[in-house]
Symmetry: C2
Subunit: 322 residues, 2 copies
């Protein structure tokens, strides 16, 4: 397991989550099970399950239910990635071939659906109606956000507001659900549940902004996918928005974004222009503001080692380089 050092105190719990996910993805078909295990073995950071576990540690909680929810959250995330990769036509994720790179679309769609259903079953294992409601609403938010992007993307260039809404449903919603539902399972008082939800939301916003910055920063080998993959698909993220709003000479960036040019030299020139403009630094500063807001929210919680990990995690997501 290649998760981050901060999670060392809960590493064993995360290993159990991973086993639970793998059990949930068992099927009677060797080839299918193999592919699912392969999919689940790609080394994510396990941030979402870690959030569930840490958020549940301020009051006594039933550990089996916490781990079931942690596995549910990560499986839901995996399911959305399977469908996203198919929709985007992505062939690599975390440096490994995507399902759709080897399978036909039908098998890929059904595998995503299957993982959704396993995630829902794991969430139901908590036997907690409020958790199940939060969980299903999150899936609605995630899909609704992606549909919004598809349906409005065609009519006008996106604004900052569009961007924040998009990353809120794409990423922050599941982060917020992880911390909120973890807190609910521990029977935390409502102000603490809301504080943890608030923390999760802000952490998710910061996390996604940095993801979007890293898309411009790294190279293919480091990131496990092509550089500037958003730009190449015409997806406008915060660095591009800062660049465009900064009165820069934006010719090639606009051309790549609107698809007039997508050749390699144009993409490289657009990436260089954005890097040189200070837009990446501005986006990182914005991520830090979200991260601070998250840290602020933690203050109402009892001071314990888990609060400290959550606090440091908010710094980590801004400072990470992959």
């Amino acid at each position: 397991m290649k998760t981050i050092a901060l999670f060392d105190p809960i590493r064993e719990d995360l290993e159990r989550v991973k086993r639970k996910m793998r059990q949930a993805a068992q099927t009677e078909h060797e080839r299918l099970t193999e592919a699912l295990q392969h999919l689940l073995s790609s080394e994510g950071k396990y941030i979402r399950p870690a959030l569930v576990i840490l958020a549940s540690r301020f009051h006594p909680a039933d550990e089996d239910k916490v781990l079931a929810l942690a596995a549910a959250v990560e499986l839901l995330h995996t399911a959305t990635l399977v469908h996203d990769d198919l929709i985007d036509g992505s062939l690599l994720r975390r440096g490994l071939p995507t399902l759709n790179a080897t399978w036909n679309p039908g098998a890929t769609i059904l595998t995503g659906d299957y993982l959704f259903s396993r995630a829902a079953s794991l969430a139901a294992e908590t036997q907690n109606v409020r958790v199940v409601v939060i969980f299903s609403q999150t899936l609605t938010l995630i899909c609704g956000g992606e549909l919004r992007q598809l349906f409005s993307g065609q009519s006008r260039p996106p604004t900052m507001d569009d961007y924040y809404r998009r990353i809120s449903s794409k990423t922050a919603a599941l982060f917020a659900t992880s911390t909120e539902a973890g807190a609910v399972l521990s029977g935390a008082p409502e102000d603490q549940v809301q504080a943890l939800r608030n923390y999760g939301h802000n952490l998710g916003m910061a996390f996604q902004i940095i993801d979007d910055v890293l898309d411009f920063a790294g190279d293919e080998e480091q990131m496990g996918k092509p550089v500037a993959s958003d730009l190449r698909q015409g997806i406008v993220t915060l660095p591009a928005l800062y660049f465009l709003s900064g009165g820069n000479n934006s010719g090639v960036v606009v051309q790549v974004l609107n698809g007039t040019r997508r050749d390699e030299p144009a993409v490289r020139a657009a990436v260089d222009a954005i890097r040189a403009s200070g837009a990446l630094e501005a986006a990182i500063a914005e991520a830090r503001r979200f991260s601070r807001r998250g840290q602020e929210a933690l203050k109402v919680l009892p001071d314990n080692p888990h609060r400290q990990i959550l606090f440091e995690l908010a710094d980590f997501v801004v400072e990470r380089n992959r």
Copy 2:
């Protein structure tokens, strides 16, 4: 609403279910909402929601929860159809263009996911953990069955057992869930819950066998989709299994099934051969056996008008011609 006459006593409830489904499929995007409303306006028979309602009527139940569950079940069914039509490349369903006939695959995949999430939220509105568990397990069964078909279909010709397993997960599982969960919501004693589940399963088996028979029987205008669509995709259903096991001179049927020939004259010849062999009648007789088993299961229930409707419904699904 074009549902069947048998459902007249619960027609108003079904109208409310339809409104609930349409509300659940509201989005902020006019074009998307329009497409979803169009999708939900295609006139299905509403058998699954009717099963939920009827099964809940043997003991006093919270009507709002029953209708939420009825809408959840039908939305889940709709979501699976959206993905199935995309996977099969079907362009017509119930005589109307499918979503994928007008949209790109990404929008169609996400719309199916969105409907899954709305279905899950509606199921959670019952506030009943047992119902939520049954519901999510059904989605696992449905997707698992389709994956099985994809992954085993390539290795060997299907047997009768394969066929029964396939239609059990494809159709009978959601029928059984509808009656079981409806009964659970009414607080029925466990033997009645199991009897209603048993009824739903057998009704679903009979329903799907007749669907597979009708695929050979009707013409395109009557059925709203091309004749023998299964055969054209190499899908072996009960009529073809009876035909093949009956020692018939099966040349053209095998050729169409294994894809050696798929031209129109070959498909027509295969359909004619199966029709002439008595295989359709044998399949109908088998459907009737399932239907009788379902009627038998109803005996432990209190005798009331709803039990009578369920009884007659078991005859109807075998005798229907569309």
